[in-house]
Structures are given as structure tokens and as C-alpha cells.
Symmetry: C2
Amino acid sequence: MLDEEPENVALEVEEVHPADLADVAEALPKERVAEFLSALPAARAADVLEYLNDELRSDVLEAMSTRQAAELVTQMTPDDRADVLEALAEENEERAEEILEQIPREAREETERLLAYEPYSAGGLMTTEFVSVPEALTVEEALQRVRAMARAERREAMYTVYTTDEAGRLRGVLSLRELLAAPEGARIADLAWSEVVTVAPTAEQEEVARLTSNYGFVAVPVVDAERRLLGVVTVDDVIGVIEEEQTEDVQKLGGMEAIDEPYLAASFWTMIRKRVGWLAALFVGELFTATVMQQFEDELKVAVVLTLFIPLIVSSGGNSGSQATSLVIRAMALQEVRLRDWWKVARRELPTGLTLGVILGVIGVFRVLLWEWLGLWRPQPHYQLVALTVGIAVMGVVTFGSLAGSMLPFLLRRIGFDPASASAPFVATLVDVTGLAIYFLAAALVLRGTLL
Amino acid sequence: MLDEEPENVALEVEEVHPADLADVAEALPKERVAEFLSALPAARAADVLEYLNDELRSDVLEAMSTRQAAELVTQMTPDDRADVLEALAEENEERAEEILEQIPREAREETERLLAYEPYSAGGLMTTEFVSVPEALTVEEALQRVRAMARAERREAMYTVYTTDEAGRLRGVLSLRELLAAPEGARIADLAWSEVVTVAPTAEQEEVARLTSNYGFVAVPVVDAERRLLGVVTVDDVIGVIEEEQTEDVQKLGGMEAIDEPYLAASFWTMIRKRVGWLAALFVGELFTATVMQQFEDELKVAVVLTLFIPLIVSSGGNSGSQATSLVIRAMALQEVRLRDWWKVARRELPTGLTLGVILGVIGVFRVLLWEWLGLWRPQPHYQLVALTVGIAVMGVVTFGSLAGSMLPFLLRRIGFDPASASAPFVATLVDVTGLAIYFLAAALVLRGTLL
């Protein structure tokens, strides 16, 4: 259709949601996307642009004439406009500057103000299109303002109405529902809630997400040190933040740096760069296992049977540590557990780890006894003692793993790192080195004078 | 204050958000919470009840008189009322029944209808308090209805207005903003969008969350097979779903079953039950490492130096596998990668794994050479060949780990399991067994005729 009747495209897709049009655009050959957007009314095209992935959007804005790109970007909401230009600037700083210059003055200055904030802060997330009314107004007057704003095609934070004093300082808040429900003639000041939860523009986006989710807000107001209202963060942006943070946490838990683009869109070298750092660090850490084993070379020579259980024992510690660390990281992310709770956590993990260790230890003991009784290996002298060694080692390693895995996130947070860096592989490496020491210690105690 | 002037409590906290009052209630001694709630007006107390954690809420509802509990629960929104009774029924079925019987008939029937849906489905999440108007109305008439609903203290899905035909079937949707912006006298039918994204009541909650997040909705309508509007899922519930799903994913990635209560609230035995299953399964899987090693007992006896590098080699495979699996699981959760994309992912992971493997392999080779040159261990005959064996094995194991870690989520999904069960420990166990085989194979090839 784009080929034969481009003038009908706009009409055909009038009822289609911009997110779906963005999917259509992403399926088109790259060089035709700009053409497709040009066939739509500017406001629609701006909506579609907002839903495109960063890479394609930047390509489209580079392919269009500066004038056309500026026109589209001007139609976007202030926060999306700033985000789009920020993403474009990363690829092509010059082009982003050119487009910004072509935006009408008022919108440009607003965009420049928003661009000055850190992208991952409340200031970077907020929109400047919100409804605030002097608290002296009546309900009907306030409702008139809201309708005027709605008619002006300003689309954003409309469902919460903020009241301000003469100096423009935030005084109260009421939901659009409360405004609609209010008796006519009432004064806004009497209706509004005076305890307003606010954030500073420098607040981290996680903090904004936590407030929204805890209180069930549709919007969080951003105020400066004098409590003047700067903007509002809306719930749709918060969902984006929550998903972004979660992606980061999962990737870190997997033992790598977070990748801020879709898996299939990330380049080969991005992938290597984000993965090799931790992998190499863990590898170097794991080299200590060879050093530990070297200390016990003589024991290993006389009792090769001990070698057979090395991977089993160290991995069971890594597994229990991985469970504990993922539990604690998630509990920290949801603020169920704080730094000062480390002792409560340790007091839970010690008995839990011990119980799990005993269960696995018993399985380990049976494995050794079974192999001997069923003749599945060459008969081992002192096989009962070998079984005992394996059981004790598994118990010790699993207990240590649970404790180390649960404490590592606390330790990292304490020294100022992201607790989510306490990845499963990190814990496993830590426990591997210690686990070997525990194993050989158990062997030395149990087998001294017999096998060793 | 609760002790001295209970009648003033309501007045003092009038302006405090119910989420904060819930925090206050949680800090009180358990037996005083019911008393605290009684001091508040019923509607306020119902709001606070909604924000309490499940356990405390159930306790409070058990401590109150049935009549008082029913009065509070009646004040809640229909979806929260159903959730609260569902959670209570898990602890104390009889008590939940008693309370339900005391709720006024209309609200009771509505609650029973909602309770009939699966709790993790769209039907289980939705509220039945939404605004729908016949499409024949004018803008002013529709706005009157919205205001009437707002005045009736029905607090939920108000920001989206649905239009229906004479048979009550969903025909269109418009936002409250669009309604407020509409010219007076216009007909609703002409303004509403006719392409409405809907879900069935049986739709999984993840599906609802995905739609909300992709389209930036504040509400998703739930319709039956005849497109009659049954209810609406609101964005605050969706945020809850997203956080719940993320908690599950992180815990599964850590190698355990998901726990649906806060870490510190879960009992000791819940903790053991959710962790021991996977831990024991992985332990049994890991037992195969002993079986593999048994096959190479003779080689280990003559070349103890090989033993030193076992933990190093198997863990580097587990680490690279953990990276790959967490990348793929997250990409699947965000629907960036689908089942049919497995081949694309494999084609990326093979070269990535190989590159990472070569980098780590080189570090491994240097470690062996360095120890020999610096005299940090007993001089090893054929140390260059040992270094080569370690290098080749690390390369092979890391490549295999990346490939296995990225393919396991696809395999699990293909056979009908949750791909998030492909935990870091699961992958590590898989790679440990294979990794040992790779290592001894490399040793057999390189060292045959010299050390072996």
C-alpha cells in the first residue's frame, strides 16, 4: 500500500494503536520507515516514533530532513523528546544538535532543561506536562483548566492535579477522580491532600519506582529544594524502569555486566565486552583452587578415590550459595531486607544451610556405600571412612555456601557496590576455593592413619 | 495515642497515606492492630487493610468480630476484596466463609464471581468497578456518569471509559482525557477508538502485564467470548504482577522453587522445602562427575597434576553457561527472543563462546607456564603439554558452556517447562559432567605417550 496509495495509509491505520504501527515499521525495510512515517499525520508519526526501538529510531531521524525530524520530535511529549534526542546523541551528537536547533524555542528550552538531568534520575524520567492549579481556585475553575489542558493535546500526567501557593510551591494533591467527585463550588484547597509524597530531581529511578509500586500511584511529583513543582514521573515510565532494572539484575546474577539493548540487537563485540570481564576475573579467582589442591598433592597421590568427589563437593556448595544469594538479592531489591538485617539473615541461613547440608551429605554417604556394595568400582580399602569424609565435607560445604551466598550481597552493599553483583558464579568461585579446603581438612581428620 | 485518646487517632492520621498507616500497623504489637483499625473510619481502615502483608491481614481478620471484618471487607474494591478473602481462605477457610456470608448480597455475589477465576489470571486480577457507557450517549451525558461514579466512592478503573452496544458488547474505548477534551454535544460513538485491545478472563497474568507495558495502558479490559465487558485490570495490579514474576524468575535462576512470601516472613520449613528439591536433584546429577572421573582413574593416578585443574576447568564452563542462560531467559521474558529464534541464538553463542574460551584458555596456559618458570610447584615433566591440555580444555568447556546455557531455556520451553527453570546451578551441573569428559579427552589426545 505504501507503494501504490501512500495517501491512503494514514486513513487505513487511523484506528491502529501506535505500538502496533511501530511493529509494522520495524518489519519494513529500514530505508522505507521514514517514508512510512511521512505518510502519517505528524502527531501520529510522533507517537509511532516513541514506540520504535532506539536503534531504528535513531536511523530514521538521521534519514529524514532535519526540518521534518524536528517537526516530528516537537510533537512528542517533553520527556520522550528528551529521551529520543539523548539516545540519538549517543549515536550522532551532531545530528541531535541540528534537530534540537530546529525545535521551536519554548519546546527547545524545555528539552534542554530535561536533558540537563541524569537520564536515570527522577529529573531524567519526568514530564513537564502536568496539571497544577492555584489552591485558591474552586472545583469548577480547576476542572475548566483540566479540560483546557486536555484540549491542548497535552497528553501526559493528567490524572493527578497538584495545588500550589502564590510562590508556586507544591501544597497539595488530588486525583482527577476526587476532582470530578467534588461538590461544585468547593475550594480546591479544602479538598486536596496536604501530605504529598515527592522526590528530588536527582532521586534515583529505582526510588521513584519503589514509591509508585508501594503506594499504587499513577504519578510522582518532582520538586526542587523550595518545593516548586518541576515535573511529574508517570506510571508508564515507571514500568519501563522496573523492567530495565530487572534485566540488569538478572544479567548481573548470571555473572556479567548488564547489556542495555535487546539480546539479538547487541553486537558481537558488545557481547564479548560485557561478558569477558567477570568471566576472566572469576577464572583468575578460580585459579586458587589449583593452588589449594597443590598443597594436598601428596594426599591425592595416595588416595586417588578422593579426587573422584571433588567436582561433586565443590558444586554442591556453589549451588546452595547461588540459592541464598538470589534470595537475598531479590529481597534487597524489594526492600524486604535492609543492610542492618544481615544478622537476621545469617541466623536463618546457618540452620537452613546445615539442614540442607545434612540431607545432601546423607545422599553422598549412600552413594559411596552403594558403589562399594554393588561392586560398581574397584573395591576401596576403608570405604566406610571415605563415605564419612564425603558426608562431612558435603555438609560443611553446603552450610558454608548458604552462609557465604547470603552474606556476600550485604558485604558488597556495605562497601558501596551493587549487591546484585554477587552473582551465582561469583559465589560459586568463592565457595569452590573454600570448599576444597573443607574437603581436604575433613579427609585429613577422618582418614589420618588409614588411607592418608 | 491509641491508649490515651483512641478517638483522636482518626483525626490525627486523616492526611496520611494508607500505605504509611499500614507500615504503622505492621510496627504495632500484633494484638493491637485490630484496635488501631477500629479507631479509623471503615473506608480508611479498608484502605489500610489492603496494604498490610497477607499474614498480618489474615491475623487481623481472624481477631475481629465477623461483623466488623465483613464491614471492612465490604468497603474494599471488588478485586482487593476477592484477593483478601482468597488469602484468608488459605489460612482459615471457615473464617473466610463466615465473613463472606456477612457481606451484603450484591457485593457478595460479585466477590463469589471473582473468586471463581484463577488467582493468576486476568479474571483473578480484574476489578468490576469500571466505567462503561452506551455508545449512543453524548459527551456531556457520559461525563455525568463518570462524575456520578466518582461520587459513589467507587475508586477503581476510572481513567478509561468503555462504550457498549445495546447487547452490552464492548464497542470502543476512550481515555478520560479524551472525554474531557471532547467538544460538547459530540456523540461518544464518534469519539471512541474502535480497535480495543482486550483479554479473556482466562488469560495469564503475564500476558496482561506484557500488553500494559507494551502499549503504556492504564487499564486492560477483560471480555467474555461474546465481547461482553466483565471487568478491567488496572495498572497498579499489573506492577504487582511484574514484581511477583520477577521475584519468581530470580529465585528460579538461583536454582530453587519460587517463594511467594517475603524472605524474612517465610518459615524455616518453607525455606527448606523450596530449596531442597532442586538442590538434591542437582546433587544427584552431579554424582555423574564421580562416575566420569572413575573412568579416568588410571590417568589420574599417573598424572596427579591433571587433578589440580579440575575445579578450574569445570567452573569456567559453568560460569559461561550461567551468563548465556540468564541472557536468554531474560530475553525470553521480554519476548525479545521466541522459540523459533533458537537457531539465531545458537549462531551467536558459538562464536561468542569460542572467543571467550580462547581468552580464558590463554590465561590458563600462562598460569601453568608461570608456575613452572617461577618454580611455584614441583617441576613437572612435559609441563608445556600440560599447559596445552589446560588451554584446549578451557576453550572447549567455555564454548560448550555458552552453547548449552543458551540452548537449555529453549529446550525446556519446547518440552513445556518454564524456561526460567534453566538455572545457573542447573547449567553448571550439566556442564560439569560434560566438561570433565572434554578435559580428559583433551588430556588423552595431547599427553598420550608422554605423561599418560
